[in-house]
Every structure is written in C-alpha cells, then in structure tokens.
C-alpha cells in the first residue's frame, strides 16, 4: 500500500517499473489459487466458473503460459478427485487455443515419463486417466489413446518380468475405462475388444498366491475379499454389458459439448512403456475391502453393488480425498462429506467402509493408524445424527466376524476401538456382547473384549474399567496393575537372598555407591554353582533377582521413577547381565514383578534395549521362551516384539546415514583440495591429516554398519527359527494325536508369522536368499512354507 502512495508522489517514471516487478509473483500465486479452487463451493455454477476461468487463463497465456502449464500438470497429477473439472478446463482452453492444447499434451507425456522413472506409479496412473478423459473433451483423438492402451497391454507379453509390472499396466487400462470406455468403443470397438480379450487371457493365467496373505477375513461370506484386479475386471465386464453407460461420474464437459466438438484434436505421440529395471518398485497387489452391501443401509439411497462401476468410482474418489487431505482432519472430513452426488448414495456407509479398508490394509495402512481414529471423530462431530450409528453398526458387524478376521487386523481394530471409546467416556452397549462370556477365553471374541478393556485401562485407570462394564464381564476385566515383590514381608524370609534384598533396599535408600551395592551383592549365593571357586562374577540368577526386584520395587511409583532407577544403576545392571543368560534373566525378572502391568513391561524393555543392557535378540528369545508361552497370544507381547524389530531397523538406518554423511564429507573435502591446489606445504599436510581422520572414521563406521546389519539379520533369523519350531511342534503333535491342528492358538501363531513378514517386508527382502536356503526349505511343513511363498508372491 505504502509503495503505491509513494510512487504517486516523487518518483514519476520509476513508479511504473517498481509496480511491475512486484506483480508477476502475485499473479502467479493468484493463477495457482484460481485453478486449485475451481470446482469448490461457489455462488455461481460450476459451468460458469469454468467458463470464466478459461477466459482468464486464455488472456494470461501470452505472459504466463509455462506457469499455467505447470499448474495444470500438477493438478492432473495430484487432484484425481477433481479430474473431470480440470479436463473440462483443458478442453475449453484447447478449443480457444489449439497450440496450447498441443503443448499441454506434450507436457503431460513428459511428466508421465518422469513419474514412471521415479517409481511414482499412483501419480502416473492419474496422469493416464487424465489423458483418457481428455478424449471426452475432444483434446485427444480416441484412436491414439487406444494405441497407447495397446502398448500398455503388450507388457503382458514380456517375459521374465515381475508380475506386479504387467499388473500395473493392465490396471491403468481397466481403471480408465469408466471414464472413457464409451468413447473408445464408439470409435474403435474391434481394437478394444481385442485389448479386453488379451487382458482376460492375462488375468486367467496370472498367479494369485499372494491373496490369502492380504485378506482381512478368511471367510468368503458375507463379502468375499477379492483381489483388486479380479474385482475391477468384474466391474468392467458389467459396465461393458451395460453398453458403457456410466452415470455416477460428474462430467462438466457435457454442458460444453457444442463448444468442445468444434475443437481440433491432438494425437498422442506413440508411447512405449519404459523397460523394466531392477530398481523399479511397482505397487503391491491389494485386496478390495468390503463390509457393507445394499442390505446394510436401511433407509435412503441404495448402495451400488460390489461389481458395479459406480462402486469403483466412489471408492476411488474417497481414497483420493483422504490421500489429498489426511494431514488436516477437519478439511478431510468436510471434503468427504461434501462428495458430489452424495444424495444418490449412502455416503456415510461408503466413507466408513473406505476408512476401515485403509486401516486394515495389508501389509500397512497408507497413512498412520491414529489418523483414522481422529478422522472418524471429526466425521462424528460433523454428522452427529447419522455417522455414529453407522460406526456402531460397523463395530457390531466386525465383532460378529472376529472368528475369521486376520490377527493383524484385529490388533488394529482393538487399537482403534479403545482409543475411540476413550473420546466418548467409554460408552458402549457391552450388554450386546454377553455372548462372548460363554466362550473359552482363548476364542477371538472374548479375547478381543479382554484386550480392548486392557487398552481402555491404559488410557484411564483400573476402577474406571470396572465401572463401565456390567458385572457379568468381570472375568474379562484386566488385572489391577500392581507390583509383585518377592521379598515383600516377613513371611518370605525363608527365601534365599531375602536378607540381602533387605540390605540392598536400605543401601539404595541411603544412596550407597555402586561399589558398595556390588559388595553387598557378593553375599548372594549362586544356585547354579556347586562350589564358589570363582569370584562369583559369572551369571548368578539369584543376584539379578535380588537386586532388580528390590530396585524396581523402590521405583514402582511411576515410569519416570523406574527409568531413573535403571539409569542410576546402569553400571550394576551391565555387570550382572554380561552374558546372554543374564540378559534373558533380567527380562524374566521384569516380567515376574510387573506381570499385571504389561504397559510397564513394554516401556522397561524399551529402556533396557536403548541403554544396551539387553539386546534385541535376547528380547526375541525371551518372548518365545517356554516361560512366556502362556502369554504368547496376548497383544502386548507382539507390541513389544514389533517395537524391538523397529528399534533394530532404525538403529541400522541411523548408522548407515552416518556412514553416508562421512563419505560425502570426505568427497567434498577432496574435491575442495583439488580446487585449492598449489598452497603451502603446511596446508597440504593439515588436509592430509583431516583426510586420514575422516578415512579412519569411515572405516570405523563401516565396521559398525556391518556389525549392526549382522545383528539385524540375526534377529530375524532367531524369530523365524522360533516360529518354525513352535509351529512344527504343534502340527506334528496334532497329526500324531489325530487332532485338528486349526486351533485358535494355531491361527494366532501362523498369522503372527505372516505379520512379521508383512510389517517388516522392506528389511526382510534383503534376506530372501538366506531364508530360502536355511529356513524355508522344501522339507518344511507345507502350512508353514505357504506363508513364505505367499510373501514371495507379493513382489514377483
């Protein structure tokens, strides 16, 4: 403002120059804003907004053509939920300026090549779909689109390529047909029929080993969990039968038909799919999650059938809205609820289904789990009269189907449910679930309720849980999280080590030094040794027990107290647990004292690993040990194991990063030396020293990386070996006893094995050779081997 006033005064001629230099950036921002916002709620109709915007852009083309091109390419790539709005806009621009249309198509093809090279397959998909819809807007000639499709489908003829590669190209073609099938068939039906036949042949011969590993429910009823390509094929078949009549997609270009059909079309340049390279990472296959059908929405609009193309388009759009706005839950909820065409569909049901579909997606949800919880809460806030009921209905349905639900998905369900309840005063119709009380505790339903209540307790407190459930549920209420001190009172005075425990306790309270305490501990006899010929420095389980029980008892008040205690006596703990048996025993003691407080066990184990008192393999061995067999199916055990694996992975990544940074630094230093050559002797000597130091550091880091990678590999081998042993034992026992092996324990165990593969698939890929040669050999029981084979099938 002040600038303008000033320029009206003294500057005279200069004022024009100053004003002009500040404007282009503002104009570019304004253009970006105008383009991004078109299609949002407005007082004018979409058509008049598009018309107006096309006029503005056309006028700005002489000066801002490149910027406009880049913005339009970006919205094509990043805003698939508004596809048809933008294709219409491009159509209008092409009608007004044929050259611009041509340049846009060229820019899109360039972008397509780049995204494919960069492994951005989802974005590439949206780009192709955009190009397809441009056929509807008379920007691209249908025959050239068909030619591109033919090139895509020819990938299915390639040999020695991963199946996921040809899968992707087929998916791109099929998933574009809802938009452009009609037009392409009108112009080139013979070619399109040939294409679809080729696809049909491919779909029939492709392997589907991976499917069981990705299904949320193992049961086919009431909704089969279909492989994504199979489902899409069925939907396209139906669409073809309906003669490509598709009524759900909003097509603003129809209103402009008279203008658009006057436009000249461009031909797509011939596009050869880039060849397969070893570092290509194609998207993983998926299973289509369905939990609702038309019988579930009692009143109002009917839910489109599972093989209708409407269902595909709705789900695709809802997924895209979440992808665009997941970081902003209020916006995301609002955008979901203002889905165009919402009055014709039971939108709340679609939204809930899509959200749970993502939450339960295997191997991993597209976004962090907690996002879905908060998104559902926002949706409940915006639709308090309808959405909570749908959510309750969904929860009830999922409870009813727990018997066949994948264990990993049950984990995510109970995490979501307990967190959700904590936001609504834990109000739930528990009485509706009394049927679970009659079942054995190890069956999925009572187990689920028990784990939910335990998680609820972590977010509140024990008495609260007692208060919120009916008295009949008392067997499922979690234990009161109290500490169990072995040397509690005089009644235990006969226990070995009792006296030392008292002394140690007093020593700690009186702030004795570590040396003093170690001296006190010398008096603890070693039950493992007949005669005490060594100094008692070896593994002494009783010593560990006496010290740790007492220490943790004194620090039992809170997490912080316990962490302080572990930190303060770190030295002693290191001495006591110098060997593998020591590490195992310390974990056993932690379990003994805190067995009623799994959350405390979790955080203590985490601290013990981070302070290197125990290593990751010790934790794995402990969880799989016979002592913990009775806890093996409890949720907290798997929380601990996966957390342990993640810590190991992050540790390796951290050191690898340090190594890379050191290498980069050396390179930069040497590069700089080359440039500054011809200096005095001193400087050269110094830089040589510097180089020497860095090289030494790099060597050390290299060793560290190798050691960490070896530890990581060992951890996975331990885990897999343990699984194989446990499962084989169970299967053999059942076979010899002629008993059905498929017990709840078995289902849990085999699905936990799957979970290891799925949750850490990136790391495990490195060990495929070792796994195949050492562990998952042909001699293995085929039930166990099947898990490994399904995993391999995910990326082949």
């Amino acid at each position: 403002m002040s600038r303008r006033r000033h320029s009206d005064g003294d500057d005279g001629g200069q004022s024009h120059k100053r004003r002009r230099t500040s404007e282009p950036i503002e104009i570019e921002d304004r253009l970006e804003s105008l383009i991004c916002r078109v299609g949002e709620k407005s007082t004018s109709s979409l058509e008049s907004n598009l018309e107006g915007l096309a006029g503005v852009l056309e006028a700005d083309l002489p000066n801002y053509k490149n910027k406009i091109l880049r913005i339009l390419c970006a919205v094509a790539r990043l805003l698939p939920e508004k596809l048809t709005v933008y294709t219409t806009l491009v159509g209008l621009l092409n009608a007004r300026n044929y050259n611009f249309g041509g340049e846009f198509v060229e820019a899109m093809i360039r972008q397509l090549k780049e995204t494919l090279k960069a492994n951005l397959y989802t974005e590439a998909l949206y780009l192709v779909r955009f190009l397809c819809d441009l056929v509807n807007c008379h920007v691209i000639a249908a025959p050239s689109m068909v030619a591109m499709f033919e090139n895509f489908v020819s990938v299915t003829q390639e040999e020695d390529v991963p199946q996921v590669r040809s899968d992707w190209f087929v998916y791109v073609v099929l998933s574009s047909l809802p938009w452009v099938g009609k037009e392409l068939y009108e112009k080139k039906d013979v070619e399109m029929d040939r294409l679809l036949n080729q696809i049909d042949g491919y779909l029939k011969r492709r392997l589907k080993t991976h499917v069981p590993m990705l299904q949320v429910w193992t049961a086919e009823k009431p909704h089969p969990q279909e492989e994504y390509l199979d489902c899409l094929w069925a939907q396209i078949q139906k669409l073809k039968k309906d003669r490509w009549q598709e009524r759900h997609i909003l097509r603003p270009y129809i209103a402009f038909d008279s203008v658009l059909c006057e436009a000249l079309q461009h031909n797509l340049p011939p596009f050869t799919p880039p060849a397969h390279m070893p570092d290509c990472q194609y998207p993983m296959p998926r299973v289509i999650f369905r939990m609702f059908d038309y019988t579930d929405a009692p009143e109002g609009p009917v839910m489109p059938g599972s093989h209708s193309v409407e269902r595909f388009v709705i789900e695709d759009n809802l997924h895209n809205i979440i992808k665009s706005h997941w970081k902003e839950r209020k916006t995301c909820a609002a955008q979901l609820l203002s889905y165009p065409g919402k009055n014709k569909i039971p939108l709340n049901y679609h939204i809930v289904e899509v959200i749970f579909g993502e939450l339960f997606q295997l191997p991993c949800p597209p976004h962090i789990d907690v996002m879905y919880t908060t998104l559902l809460i926002e949706l409940c806030k915006l639709q308090p009269g309808s959405l909570p009921q749908v959510l309750a209905q969904a929860t009830e349905m999922m409870y009813m189907r727990l018997d066949t639900m994948n264990t990993t998905c049950i984990d995510r369900l109970l995490n979501w449910f307990s967190h959700h309840l904590s936001n609504f005063q834990f109000r739930w119709s528990w009485d509706d679930w009394t049927d679970c009380l009659a079942l054995d505790a190890d069956k999925p339903k009572p187990k689920f309720v028990k784990e939910v209540l335990e998680k609820c307790m972590r977010l509140s407190y024990h008495q609260r849980i007692v208060d919120i459930v009916p008295p009949t549920f008392s067997a499922l209420i979690p234990a009161d999280p109290i500490f169990f001190y072995k040397y509690q009172d005089e009644a235990n005075s006969a226990l070995p080590g009792y006296a030392v425990a008292i002394t140690v306790g007093n020593a700690i309270k009186n702030r004795a030094s570590n040396e003093e305490i170690l001296t006190v501990l010398k008096d603890v006899p070693n039950p493992n040794q007949e005669d005490d010929d060594d100094e008692g420095e070896g593994f002494n389980p009783l010593k560990i027990e006496v010290f740790l029980q007492t220490l943790l008892h004194l620090a039992a008040k809170s997490f912080s107290h316990s962490f302080s205690a572990l930190a303060k006596f770190h030295e002693i703990l290191k001495v006591l647990t110098d060997c593998d048996e020591g590490k195992l025993h310390i974990l056993r003691v932690v379990y003994e004292v805190w067995r009623n407080h799994p959350q405390m066990i979790s955080v203590l184990v985490d601290k013990l690993i981070r302070t290197q008192i125990v290593d990751c393999a010790a934790v794995a061995n402990w969880l799989f040990s016979p002592n913990m067999a009775h806890e093996f199916t409890r949720f907290y055990v798997w929380e601990i194991l996966h957390s342990t694996i993640r810590k190991m992975n992050k540790h390796v990544q951290k050191i690898q990063k340090e190594l890379e940074e050191a290498k980069d630094k050396l390179e930069r230093q040497q590069h700089k030396k080359q440039k500054d050559s011809g200096d005095e002797e001193d400087m050269e000597k110094n830089s040589e020293d510097e180089d020497g130091q860095l090289e030494e550091q790099i060597e050390r880091l290299q060793e560290k990386v190798e050691s960490a990678q070896s530890e990581q590999k060992n951890l996975f081998l331990v885990i897999f070996q343990r699984f194989i042993m446990m499962l084989t034992e169970h299967l053999v026992r059942c076979e010899t006893g002629s008993v059905d092996f498929s017990t709840p324990w078995y289902k849990n165990c085999i699905e936990r094995l799957q979970q290891i593969f799925l949750m850490h698939h990136v790391t495990i890929q490195q060990y495929m050779g070792t796994l195949e040669n050492l562990l998952f050999t042909a001699e293995l029981d085929h039930h166990i081997l099947a898990v490994y084979q399904q995993f391999c099938a995910l990326q082949l």
């Binding site: 991004c36 902003e328 908060t374 967190h419 904590s422 972590r458 957390s643």
Partner: protein
C-alpha cells in the same frame, strides 16, 4: 515437475502457535528456529489426576516417546495440569500435533503446542500460588484442576 500447489495442501495443524515462552533464554529469532525444529510438545489442559502412563499411551500412538515430564506445582510438587512430551523424531511430534492435539485424554480435550525444549525449572507452574497461571485467574469450577481458580478462592 516439482510444483507443490501450496494453495491446497496445507498442514496447518503443524504450525507454530502465537504463544512464546517469556522466560526463554535467547532472542525471538532463536526461539522461532528451535520451535520449527522441535521434537518436544507442551501439553495443556490435563487433569491434575492424569498419570504419566496415560500420557505415554496416548502420545505413543504417533511414535516412540523419548520422555515425559509432568508439570508440577512449584510449592506442592504435585501435578498441576500440564506436561512435556519429547519424541525421538520431529515427524512423530508432527503427527501428534495433527492427530492427538484437540482430542481427549482422561475425558478432557487436551491441547498441544511446540516447545523449544525442556530445561530444568520449566516443569514448574508459573502462577503466584504455585500452579499454572491460567488457574490463578479462571472463574469457573473445574474439579479436575483444584476446583475454582485461585482468584475466586481468595477473599
């Protein structure tokens, strides 16, 4: 190709708020810089009875928690309704700002905000009576935060 469309993909939950710690040792610029890099969150509107365990459980949903420091009444040395949560990575803290901020803990809507980093002494309330400043002056009755504000209880 790398145009970002700032107009659309905002991430406002992660933005720094207007609050600045008046006791911060350093200038405004330094404080801003630390806030933009912080892995630590201030958490407010807790009940006096909310435990470290509950905070751990909730905030672990966005990532591994490095440590929690419960805010204390300077005089009584009891919890006075706030805490600090420190993560190992910035990303985890950002997810807490996006998905934990504004939801309930112990039945109360809690509020999280970026913090420049815990320093000894910052675990104490800065109100005259020892608790938080906001409990000095508020007029309402909040049983989870000592009942009425101090200004109401004082004659």
């Amino acid at each position: 190709m790398s145009i970002k469309l700032n107009a659309l993909f905002s991430d406002s939950y992660v933005d720094v708020s207007q609050y600045r710690d008046q006791h911060f040792k350093g200038n405004r610029y330094e404080q801003e810089k630390l806030l933009k890099q912080a892995n630590t969150l201030y958490v407010g509107n807790l009940s006096f009875y909310t435990t470290e365990e509950q905070v751990y459980e909730l905030f672990s949903k966005s990532g591994d928690v490095k440590r929690i420091i419960i805010g204390l009444d300077k005089v009584k040395k009891t919890a006075c309704g706030f805490c600090f949560v420190e993560y190992y990575t910035r990303t985890d803290a950002e997810n807490a700002m996006r998905f934990v901020n504004g939801t309930r803990l112990d039945d109360r809507i809690i509020r999280t905000d970026w913090d420049a980093g815990f320093k000894e002494g910052r675990q104490y309330g800065r109100g005259k009576s020892g608790g938080q400043v906001r409990d000095e002056y508020r007029q309402d009755y909040d049983p989870a935060r000592g009942g009425y504000g101090k200004v109401v209880s004082r004659p």
